[in-house]
Symmetry: D3
Subunit: 190 residues, 6 copies
């Protein structure tokens, strides 16, 4: 079970409205390589890791991804804050407004609802951990795209933090994969 | 952000294999009225509650629903534990096995991937809180169906606990709705 | 079975083109809380209402929702009437045009095809009627958003009529729920 | 707008439970070539027929398809009537029961929610009417498959009626297509 | 099996950037009536044609549609080539960029992932071939819409070629249908 | 463009009907880690590989995956050949039959239509090639599950061939990734 602590993993203080950026942020809120995908992927896979070490790592990273999802929500909402109807229309968000007012909804950046078709679970540690490494690379690339879309240092700071965490996660998943390949003598196919 | 505590909200100790029941449990793992729907619905909506009281309640219940999701995973995995290929086939699970071995995947009980099309977010507290009350009623009904599908007291005990939590949540959402209707003088339409 | 009567439930006479508004109207044509969702939800659920009174009410409202769906189609088409290719492009509708010319298609306001994942059916009258009440609240909120997106009195008039009908439906569903709670002595959980 | 008349287009009186057949019937309730697809396809396309004759035909057939959808619901429910939990399990319906009790839900026969991705609307009468003719052929084939799945004359009778209606609709769409090809001198491509 | 030949079926040499047109091209890359739909529809159906003649035709056209899919990719990429971040934003493509940089992804023109819900397979040659004829008509209409969206002769040339191929395919499917109707004496329903 | 050669990459000669196995084979026909996913993933990504070497490898493997898709179709159809209605029902395939007779349809093993939500394209070679390596590992695991589901040597032979090809592809993607990491001096993050 989980305990909520009322603070963000990294502070978010954005004061400049940017509706196009808010829309792009949905890539990480409900898109294919979003923090939501990441959280559900690891929390779902963890039961089939071959030992407690794997269970613990996937639980740990999965839990952190929920905290990242919360940061993404905060960034997107601060970027939208105080948007007028006219501003929403000028940025092509009349449809989003019609359905959700200025609330968030877990879709990708095109408005497509999130689906677990984005995540993987094979019950095979090698298949799963390679998938996790790949997912972290895609999430890193997504953060780089998002950083390219803005000049606002208040947005760049948390995005850079999040990008860096993906690099750390990639390396931790890689270490675990390598550890298991050795432990289970799978360094070559048979 | 969240902290993981390595224990279940309510203990799960199932020793009798029941593959049909494991499959039915997916209704609560990735189905329309699942614990996953519930967690994402409340954690997503909380930012648009009109005050801190609402934010806190939705965070609190949303966090508890992730813990319920974890209980559901544990129940489903214990029900499948040790299943042979022949048993999987005899229960129509050859397709699930082909795709995921004996690991879990967040689909509904028919194998359809979870989608956030199941959840709601209007940015209108009345619309959202009625939706939350309704979701709790549907989750309660789903638990009653699941309880009807088994005779195993080790399965019934956690399911009864979870059903009871839905009743509690329904009442808490209802109190919050009523509090806001009074506070914002919305007891009648205009 | 149904008989078609060639008139709208409420007249629609829009002469001012507004492509952004046409796009936003799709929220009610094929979106999560659309008239299409409403019609299918009630016509599907009606068979499991516990008595003829419930069957009749859900049939009645479900039938009216199809008529509302027809009104929405008429509004959206009148708002698009005579749009040139350049106007479509200027409003980001080049993709819609490529796939459908100026015809309608039952998607949400972002272009996502309608799915019955948006509707509910538990076979439990309490779960279903609360879901119906919540759906009417969300539809009401959606109409309020749509009204906020336009200044054209010819658009506002039918939208206000439709919003008002949702309020009426909410109250009728609430009365039925309360009647059943008393009739079946379900005023408290057991 | 529509008026409901409380009778079926063709009587349905099934007394023999057949859960496998009930499940197969979902092909016509929420499947790709279902009566629901048909109704929404024609009612959506009708606005772009080039004249009143086309509008009237598509409205007429679309309205009849809603009545067929109602017949399908009635057939499926009568086939499921009185099913025990054990019978549901023996027919692989434990998942359907968990989510919906014995109520219907608009999915295909595998449990996949209905989507308007199944229907077509090009704004081009030739494209649309050929699509309608093709849809009627697929619906006819589906009814033939359903008839092959049962020996119960009480089920076969309404299914044969419905199959026959598809043949009639195919011919009416074909006549309209041919009429327009002549009227608009489109008998050859340019 | 297939052999790749490194040339396009028809040359594509576009030098003028047009991001709105690139987005509209997705209608043919991953939309309902796209070349991808066409390829998968025919290659999937071919096994159930009643004789070798049908198998060969569907294989032949299906294989050509993959080559058309490759042409569409080339057109879309050339239309996007060298797009700056500011240009992407000005055309509402910030979300596409966030998720995919300037790479392609098989979605429709609204960003909805491709699904085989768009294709048909009844195992009935009449149903299938009418569906194929209808699909070619819809693809023809889509190409006409795309041609209407541009003035660039370098874009119009390959689109006109592709439109013309749909007309040829329509006629070849029609001939096969008519041949089978005679061969199997199905010129009238029974 | 592609040329079809009328032979399979590896011979398939199955004479023993096995409907459960046919259903499980759909995992590779239209499932998340299917040959269809693989073909579309590589053919879509190839345009953004940084040089001709990458384009050629992805085209090559993508083309081979279409040939594998064809083998999967052949295996599944041979496993279903001659199935009676009673046999289809006994294996829970009455729904598949209702919708498709005994033809194939690109769904996963639970009947869920294929979607490109299963594939990835980031425009970042590292992200894409890690995703491709992971996809090959998942496909390998899927083949191992399928092999576990049968004792028929005529089924095992082509499945073992296909599993082996995934291993080869994994290594080729890995070599390409390593080559690019060196070439572009990306052996560490910055």
């Amino acid at each position: 079970m989980w305990k909520y602590e009322k603070k963000l993993e990294y502070p978010v203080n954005i004061t400049k409205k940017d509706l196009k950026m808010a829309k792009a942020m949905l890539a990480q809120y409900g898109g294919p390589d979003s923090e939501l995908s990441a959280a559900l992927r690891y929390l779902n896979q963890r039961y089939k890791m071959p030992d407690e070490k794997g269970f613990a790592l996937l639980t740990d990273i999965g839990t952190e991804e929920i905290a990242h999802w919360e940061m993404i929500a905060t960034i997107a909402l601060q970027l939208m804050k105080g948007a007028t109807i006219e501003e929403l229309k000028a940025n092509g968000l009349e449809g989003v407004y019609a359905q959700h007012d200025r609330s968030l909804f877990p879709t990708d950046a095109n408005g497509v609802p999130f689906t677990t078709a984005y995540i993987e679970s094979t019950g095979d540690f090698w298949g799963d951990l390679e998938s996790d490494m790949a997912a972290e690379q895609r999430a890193r690339a997504t953060y780089e795209h998002l950083i390219n879309l803005t000049n606002d240092p208040d947005v760049i700071a948390p995005l850079s933090f999040l990008r860096q965490r993906e690099v750390v996660h990639y390396n931790r998943f890689k270490e675990l994969r390598d550890y298991y390949l050795t432990k289970y003598d799978k360094d070559s196919y048979d």
